[in-house]
Symmetry: C2
Subunit: 327 residues, 2 copies
């Protein structure tokens, strides 16, 4: 599967932007460079970065609308750092010891210093955005607030059953806020008019939904060797991801008992995980989730058609990639 051009064309620029933003000699700076994947645990240069989806979207959007990508770089770096601050804290909240196959920050430095490293990443993100002006900063802060509220909702689902609608509201905030924010920041840098900004925001919502639901599918049915996470990991962590929410909304009798009782247990066995996966498959939860991914990607294509982008085929390439990605 070829990586879409949107994710490759701006990569070097983004990496240099991240290096600049995270240069610093405090005790915590190497921890931040390790987390984003610029360095290994010893502080040696070793590139191991993620997809850089969000900053790539900022730069693609800005250039499609006529701006110089370098002018959009602080916004792109800012949103990538906000994303990474949320990942550092997420890993603590979820108790995850591995991310992209490497030990997480808290598992290396403890929870207290992990919280602190995330805090620093967020503050540096804002400093970076400020260099692009107050309007960009305000848009980034709004997206951040929405993302945190979404994370709050997600955590609340651990202790109560969420409906599919509540789940969609949660991912529109938790994941959608930064994807929408990426398009919006790109548009703002390029001075886009209100109508274009509105369409960009809608495109972000559709892509964010597709992206998160695909993530939820991979969190249960993904290939562990590709994702870097153990198979069925979201079930083991008793995450109420979309397939589980769908399953719970459809399950009755014995199926319901299996789902509810397993999700109340501490320390699930392999057999528990398999039992839940089997029930979800029987209820059609995987197919429903896959259909939802397709539906939102279709919606993204429709919105894309109305956007004044000269290279729409590049966005289509990304949409196809998101539909099929295995990690």
């Amino acid at each position: 599967m070829t990586t879409p051009r949107i994710l490759t064309e701006f990569r070097d620029l983004i990496v240099s932007g991240l290096e600049g933003a995270l240069a610093g000699t405090s005790l915590l700076h190497p921890v931040l460079r390790y987390h984003v994947g610029l360095e290994d645990e010893t502080g040696a240069r070793r590139e191991n970065l993620g997809k850089l989806l969000r900053p790539s979207l900022v730069l693609f959007t800005a250039t499609e609308l006529g701006a110089d990508p370098r002018r959009a770089l602080p916004a792109a770096v800012g949103i990538e750092l906000i994303h990474n601050f949320s990942l550092i804290h997420d890993d603590i909240q979820d108790g995850d010891r591995l991310r992209r196959g490497r030990p997480t920050v808290w598992s290396l430095h403890g929870i207290a210093q992990g919280i602190n490293a995330g805090d620093l990443m967020a503050a540096i993100a804002i400093r970076e955005a400020l260099s692009a002006g107050p309007q960009i900063t305000a848009a980034l802060v709004s997206a951040t607030i929405e993302m945190i509220e979404g994370q709050g909702l997600d955590l609340s689902f651990e202790t109560r059953e969420a409906t599919v609608d509540e789940y969609m509201e949660m991912i529109d905030k938790k994941t959608g806020a930064l994807i929408r924010g990426s398009f919006t920041l790109g548009g703002l840098v390029a001075g886009a008019e209100a109508e274009t900004l509105r369409r960009l925001s809608e495109l972000g919502t559709a892509l964010g939904r597709a992206f998160q639901i695909r993530d939820d599918i991979l969190g249960i049915w993904g290939n562990g060797e590709v994702t870097g996470k153990p198979l069925g990991s979201d079930i083991r962590r008793r995450k109420k991801s979309l397939p589980v929410v769908v399953g719970l909304s459809r399950a009755g009798g014995a199926d319901r008992t299996i789902l509810v009782e397993t999700y109340q247990k501490e320390g699930l066995t392999d057999a528990d995980v398999t039992a839940v996966v089997t029930v979800l498959e029987r209820l059609g939860a995987k197919e429903i989730a896959e259909r939802m991914v397709k539906e939102h990607l279709g919606r993204a294509e429709e919105i894309l058609a109305a956007l004044p982008f000269p290279h729409k085929e590049k966005m289509t390439e990304l949409i196809d990639y998101l539909a099929r990605r295995e990690k």
Copy 2:
């Protein structure tokens, strides 16, 4: 002991500013209002706020330099919210279940949601500062970064012995950054010239040191009924606060063994705490810490004399209060 006017004159204005900034209907908003002391656990209006030292310093400085306090309010509220975000995360990092005699956020809502609540508080702080413009926001973000770096240093002292100089560097960042930031923000709102801003920053450093060292003294020798914390609480938590750092730098033989070995134990008994306090007193650590408080407050008085403040006596009143405060 009368509360100094600086801490009373602006209080209503600050409380109304906090209410405005923390108005919101997300799941997390009541948690933030509870934390700052605007509401109780049930969401009922109940004022239980702290000293509001930092925002009071912003407003006092701005008005002394000729600005309308209402113009300085977003900066004042911003810095108070940054302070409170750090307290929410501090309580998790230190495992503290009580603050000002009330259950801490994480002890009510769990560590995961506690991290999230702190994150939201920080983002709202920046949004608030943005309404006062990019220069104010940049100053607040710089102070925040320095504070977080200081917190990182402080956490690193848990696993290694710090010198008195390293300790001073740590508190100049961890506590000093926001006190300095308060004076600086007040100065910036009032359009103060560079020389005044430099003096304000020095005043902040001196007051920050005195404030933190006084806090450290209270953390060991404070009256629990006044501070809301158990007696000797910093020793029980094995905090390497200034008296302990001073003690370690002076202790030899049996005294050193008691300090080092007790600080390596898990779950200290009352007898352990008493033994450490006795050693610290024998080594003169309390007197040295008290002398340092006096010295930095004296330095603050000197700097104050050179500042163009019409009501210096109000700052002197605050300095006297900080020298003697019991909580």
